[in-house]
Amino acid sequence: MAKYLLLKHYRGAPAPVNDVPMDRWSPEEITAHMRYMSDFADRLKETGEFVDAQALAPEGTFVRYDGEGRPPVTDGPFAETKDLIAGWMVIDVDSHERAVELAGELSAAPGAGGRPIHEWLEVRPFLTETPTVTE
């Protein structure tokens, strides 16, 4: 088993196919979307592949060490240029193929008009496994 991080972006990922901001959906479409996501997580809990899922606020701050005795630097007027993570789900699956398959399914969550959003999700493996020695 290996852990993968599925990242959902506010900004930084290519635009989804069904690109309508959420406040333009109908309340029923929002409910359907939420239900899809939570059903998806429930299903992974049953298969033992779910680890964690969290949502993040849209605003974040870049911070950098600025030398001894000085306060850290935070980003200023260029916040709009950075990539922003909206949330994540961590899964623990048998293979990279399975991780990609699940991310594909999650990306098909319904959006405006009940059609899949086709949102781009980033799939990143965790660097946790020690390589297996096979001689």
Binding site: D23, R24, S26, I30, S38, E59
Partner: protein, 381 residues
């Protein structure tokens, strides 16, 4: 074996040891040992005075530990005395513990964790689960807090206001897993109200009961927020509301108004209305004025603008809002609501979407997004 009894005795036993001069961390260890001993011995041989028994055993453990610790130093040899078993006065010592746990040298989150541990008698695991952090992290946080207050001598009475703030923090943390922090905060505040006679303690207890009474109606089964006006009032706990109002009235009658009593008065006016339309908004506005006088908090003025909007119409509410700083948290949400009631749907939809982007939790963000979506759908038709 009565675990509820054990849990309720823990803080006062700990309080006795602290009053006798035991350092907080050592006292806590000794009390834990005594609890383990009680679990072993009591089923076969129940004590006549459970608290006296616990105090005796814990004090003996504490002396043993101190003695073995200091065995090399002869002067410790005199520490032989043992307490006589028997009834021990309770309130005073528990109170001391409340003050210690809310000591100003602790950060709010440490004070909360320590209060749940020492006064509430929760296990580290339970507290960790409630805060969704690993048990080891919470254990560290608690032992750091204990080290911080280790040298504190409580020779002067502590500040009740700080204790109340900590308890209100616990109440507002919500709950997850096996510990309901809101219920726990109510229990601790009840205990405190039994220990000291203070109108603001009564005010906080009333406020918690009135909020707690509406809890079942506040969210749907799938976790969606239900605004006050749309809540199913038959799901409110009328017994809790009546209790809260009774406690509040007794506190108000003493004419020492404080912010918790004022907040409870507002909650009581909301809880007392048979329907949203019958709410006494003019009186709520007056209470917000009192609250503003007591606290000077800009958040109070924001809430007051909502109440003004209900009492005198959305235009009056927007006028009240115009005097405030638009950088206040939830400013956009309040503005959206007032514009919606005023019929400016497009402005309202834009503001709801903006407020959703600034929301501090998921339930609130989803609620605001839905509001924006509902208005946008209406506008398209």
């Amino acid at each position: 074996m009565d675990e509820v009894l054990l849990r309720s005795l823990t803080p006062s036993v700990l309080g006795v040891l602290c009053r006798r001069g035991a350092d907080f961390a050592a006292a806590e260890d000794a009390v834990q040992d005594a609890l383990v001993e009680a679990l072993r011995v009591w089923p076969a041989d129940p004590p006549r005075d459970p608290k006296g028994w616990l105090v005796t055993v814990a004090w003996r453990r504490f002396l043993d530990a101190t003695r073995s610790d200091a065995a090399r130093r002869r002067r410790e040899d005199r520490a032989e005395e043992e307490p006589a078993p028997g009834p021990v006065p309770a309130a005073d010592d528990t109170l001391r513990l409340y003050f210690l746990c809310a000591h100003p040298s602790l950060s709010p989150s440490s004070a909360v964790a320590l209060t749940l541990r020492a006064v509430g008698g929760l296990t580290t695991r339970q507290i960790a689960r409630a805060y969704l952090v690993p048990e080891a992290t919470m254990a560290q946080r608690i032992s750091r807090a204990k080290r911080t207050v280790a040298g504190v001598r409580l020779d002067r009475p502590g500040d009740v206001a700080t204790v109340l703030r900590v308890l209100y923090l616990v109440f507002n943390e919500g709950y997850s897993g096996d510990v309901d922090l809101a219920a726990e905060a109510v229990r601790l505040t009840r205990q405190l109200a039994g220990a000291i006679d203070h109108p603001e303690v009564a005010g906080l207890l009333a406020l918690m009961l009135l909020h707690h009474a509406r809890r079942a109606a506040r969210t749907t089964a799938d976790g969606r927020l239900v605004p006050l006006a749309e809540q199913d009032r038959t799901r409110w706990d009328t017994a809790l509301i009546a209790e809260g109002i009774g406690i509040l009235q007794a506190a108000l009658a003493r004419d020492r108004l404080g912010e918790f009593q004022a907040q409870a008065a507002i909650a009581a006016l909301n809880a007392d209305a048979p329907t949203a339309e019958e709410t006494d908004w003019p009186q709520i506005v007056e209470w917000y004025d009192e609250l503003w006088r007591l606290t000077g908090s800009p958040v109070v003025r924001l809430n007051r603008a909502v109440a003004v909007g209900e009492a005198d119409g959305p235009r009056a509410g927007l006028a009240a809002l115009a005097e405030l700083d638009s950088a206040l948290p939830r400013y956009a949400a309040v503005a959206a609501y007032l514009h919606e009631r005023d019929g400016a749907l497009e402005t309202a939809a834009r503001l709801y979407a903006e407020a959703a982007g600034r929301a501090s939790n998921l339930a609130e963000r989803d609620h605001l997004t839905r509001r924006a979506a509902r208005l946008n759908a209406r506008l398209r038709r």
